[in-house]
Amino acid sequence: MAPFLTAGLGLKPRHYAEARDCPAAGLWFEVHPENYLVDGGPRLRWLAAIRERHPVSLHGVALSLAADAPPDAAHLVALRRLADRIEPTLVSEHLAWSTWRGAYHPDLLPFPRTNEALARISSNVSAAQEALGRRIAVENPSHYLRIDGHEWEEIDFLSELAHRTGCGLLLDVNNVFVSAANLGFDAADYIDAFPAAPVMEIHLAGHSRDPALGERLLVDSHDAPVSEAVWSLYGRLVSRIGPRPTLIERDDNVPEFAELLAERDRAHALLSAPMARAA
C-alpha cells in the first residue's frame, strides 16, 4: 500500500539534496510543473531523484482554467509528458486565469463567477482532466477586489464545478483568511461551509500586510511562516473533515530546510492524531 501522505513542503532548488535525503514520515513535495517543462538537464534529474524517495505533487499556475478559452494544447501535452515521467501523487490548479491571448501574466487573476464562467471553466477542467488522464484538484484563490456581477458564491461555484467535472478541490486555508480579511467575510464560516468530500489537498502559507495599499489589506505573499490564525482555522477544518494531504507553501524569504520541516512537522502531528484515532 502506498504510504499515507501527511504534510508536505514546496520544493526549492536550494533544498534539493536535503529534500531527497529527508526521512520524515508522511513527507511529500510539491512543485510548480511550469519550472520543469524543460527538455533535460539537472532540474529534471533532481526532480526524478526526489520522486524516487518521496511522493511528488504537481501544482500548476498556468493552465488558466478561468480564461474564456480552452487550455493551451501544447501546454497540456507538456504537462502530460511531465506527469508520465514523475507519476505525481496529486495534480492541482487554481480557480483563476493567467494566460490570455498569448500573454502569460504571472499571477492568479480573478473573474466574475457567472453562469457563463462556470460553463467555460467546467469545460476547461474536463479538457485538462482528459488530457492528463487523471482527476485534478482546483484551488480557491486569494481575493483582493470587490467584483460586481458574481452570480455564485465561491463555495457553491467550486462545489458545482466538482459536481459537473468530477474534479477534486484544494482548499487553501491561508487564501481563505486573506480573502476574508480583504473582502470582509468570516473565514471560519467559509471553512465550516466548504464541502468535505471533494477536498483532495489543503494548502497553508504565510501572508503579509501591504500598508501602502490600505490599512488592512493582506497579501498572499508566501514569504513568512503560517500565522497562528491560519493554524487555528486549519485545526478547525481537519477536526471536521478529517486528515488530508497538507502542504506548507513558501516562495519568498525561504529559510533553511530544517526550519520549513519544523513547520511541516506541526501539520504532520495534527494530521497524525486524528488518523491514529481513526485507525
Binding site: E34, N35, L37, V38, D39, G40, G41, P42, R43, R45, V61, A62, A66, A67, D68, A69, H75, W97, S98, T99, W100, R101, G102, A103, Y104, H105, P106, D107, L109, F111, P112, T114, E116, A117, R120, Y144, L145, R146, I147, D148, G149, H150, E151, N182, D210, A212, L213, G214, L217, V219
Partner: protein, 263 residues
C-alpha cells in the same frame, strides 16, 4: 443573484489584462470599478514583479554589471512591451539582448547586449536535452578518407557566438559567478562557447575560426567544408587544435556520415 452588471468573460479578461499595464485612467468599462480599488495594485505589482524577477534570474551577469536598481528599471521598460508568451519563465527574455542593444541608457555599455546573450545561452544550455558529448575516440570508428564527408552535430546544449564589439566573454564570465579576478581586460573581439556535456553548464572562449566551424556544422555542412569555412575566417587557423579543442569542450554530440541516417 445579479446578472446585468456581469461583463462577458472574454471582455472582462481583455480589459483586465490591459489594465495591468496601463494607467488607471485608461481602464476599460468592464474593469473600471476594479482598477479604482487600491487593491488592484496587488495584481499590477505581482505581475510586474513576477516578470522582472524572472528577468533578473535569467540575466544575472547583466544585473551584476549594472546593479540591481538599474537592472530592474530597465527590465520594467522591457516588460511593458514584451510580456511572457509562455508560462515557463525560464524562456522569458528571448529578445532582452536586442532590447538592451537599442536601449539608450545602455549606449555607453556596448558589451551589455552580448553579456545578455551569454546569460541566455547559459539558460538554454541548462535546460537543453540530455546527450553524451562526443569523444575523440569516435573518430577512430571512421575511415580517415571518409572523415571529410562526415558531419559533426553540435551538442543540444551547445551555444556559441562571436562578439566583434569587444571582450564580451571575459566580461560575462567574470560577472556570471562571484569572481575575484579584477585584472585588466584586454580589449579585443572574443567568441564564447557555452554547453552542458554532463550535469553542469560549462563555458570556454572560442576564436573566430572555431565559431565559424561550429556555424557550418550546425548548418549540416560536412567536416571538410566546415574546415574550409574556418580557414576563410582565419587562414592561419590550426585545424587539428581547433577541432580537438571543441571536442574537449563538449561541443558535439554525434559524428555521422551523410549516407547514414542519424543513429
Amino acid at each position: 443573484m445579479r446578472t446585468l452588471s456581469a461583463a462577458p468573460l472574454a471582455q472582462f479578461q481583455d480589459a483586465f489584462s490591459r489594465a495591468l499595464f496601463e494607467e488607471p485612467a485608461q481602464a476599460g468599462a468592464a474593469v473600471a470599478a476594479l482598477v479604482a480599488q487600491p487593491a488592484f495594485a496587488v495584481y499590477r505589482n505581482t505581475v510586474a514583479k513576477g516578470c522582472i524577477d524572472a528577468l533578473q534570474a535569467n540575466f544575472p551577469a547583466v544585473a551584476r554589471l549594472v546593479g540591481e536598481d538599474w537592472f530592474r528599471a530597465a527590465a520594467a521598460v522591457y516588460v511593458a512591451d514584451e510580456r511572457p508568451a509562455v508560462p515557463s519563465l525560464l524562456a522569458y527574455g528571448e529578445s532582452f539582448p536586442q532590447f538592451l542593444r537599442a536601449f539608450p541608457p545602455a549606449a555607453e555599455l556596448p558589451y551589455l547586449a552580448g553579456v545578455a546573450q551569454l546569460d541566455r545561452f547559459w539558460t538554454a544550455a541548462h535546460v537543453a536535452a540530455d546527450a553524451s558529448a562526443l569523444e575523440h575516440s569516435a573518430f577512430a570508428r571512421f575511415d580517415p578518407d571518409m572523415l571529410g564527408e562526415a558531419m559533426l552535430h553540435p551538442h543540444p546544449a551547445a551555444r556559441w557566438a562571436w562578439f566583434d564589439e569587444g571582450p564580451v566573454f571575459t566580461i560575462w564570465s567574470r560577472n556570471r559567478e562571484e569572481c575575484a579576478d579584477e585584472g585588466d581586460i584586454d580589449w579585443r573581439a572574443e567568441g564564447a562557447l557555452i554547453t552542458r556535456p554532463e550535469e553542469a553548464v560549462r563555458w570556454t572562449s572560442v576564436d573566430a575560426a572555431g565559431c565559424r566551424f561550429l556555424d557550418a556544422c550546425a548548418q549540416g555542412q560536412p567536416i571538410a567544408q566546415a574546415l574550409d569555412a574556418a580557414l576563410g575566417v582565419d587562414p592561419d587557423a590550426n585545424l587539428v587544435r581547433l577541432v580537438s579543442g571543441l571536442l574537449a569542450a563538449g561541443a558535439f554530440a554525434q559524428l555521422t556520415l551523410p549516407s547514414r541516417n542519424e543513429p
